[in-house]
Symmetry: C2
Subunit: 119 residues, 2 copies
Amino acid sequence: MTIPRTTAGERDLRRLRTLYRALGDETRLRMIGLMAELGPVPVKTLSARVGLSQPLISWHLRILRLAALIDTKRQGREVICKLRLAAFEELHEAEARLVSGTAGIDLAPSSAGSEATNV
Amino acid sequence: MTIPRTTAGERDLRRLRTLYRALGDETRLRMIGLMAELGPVPVKTLSARVGLSQPLISWHLRILRLAALIDTKRQGREVICKLRLAAFEELHEAEARLVSGTAGIDLAPSSAGSEATNV
DNA sequence: CGATATCATAAGCGTCCGCTTATATCAATC
DNA sequence: GATTGATATAAGCGGACGCTTATGATATCG
């Protein structure tokens, strides 16, 4: 039961980093807003409504997909994009663990028990 | 009452972009975790616990401060950093507006009433 | 099978980001 | 007021990011 090589808190950190980073772009937020408004939607429509080139939208979609923020499936020659609301719940949970102060986030192991008590 | 130059949804988009972007870095997430765990904490302690140089921590703190995720105040020669939990509530609210599909996020104005109905 | 529509990938480019080192500001203490 | 401690800012650098244009892959239709 020696501390696992990658702490739970560390895993949260990675996941949070990926999610937040994927969300930290105005174009992607617009796309998410549209998917929320329109429901499952083909790439072309996103491209048209956002007003950016199709390859760029496709690239943004890849980032959102890799972050598991959306699902995509082929339907004929179109690819339908659907928002994964569950991802936001996962986000909230990891976020809550971080902010509740019980994550055990640290780097300097020697700081345990030393002069760490401040304020 | 002509549509305001910057829509409410647009303002949300900017705020969300700033918040998510500030949160989309592992070092900054570590710092937030530490502030959540330790409460108000001086810069030096953050630097020591995270294990990165003081100027770098100071720079990350600036980003968090500009995003209104933390408060900082001088106390003697130290600067105390405190997590602003309220920021997360604001984040959740804006996020909820976006994801609920009522934000009216768009770019192409001509798409109103045209062949926008898909799926 | 050829032609067209929808989407993904590749290559290239300017900019911002994360980080380091060096230096400046501000406050306490002697 | 000079020195020491704590933090902020400046300069510089490599790499990732956001975007465009060009090309390739996949599926439908005639």
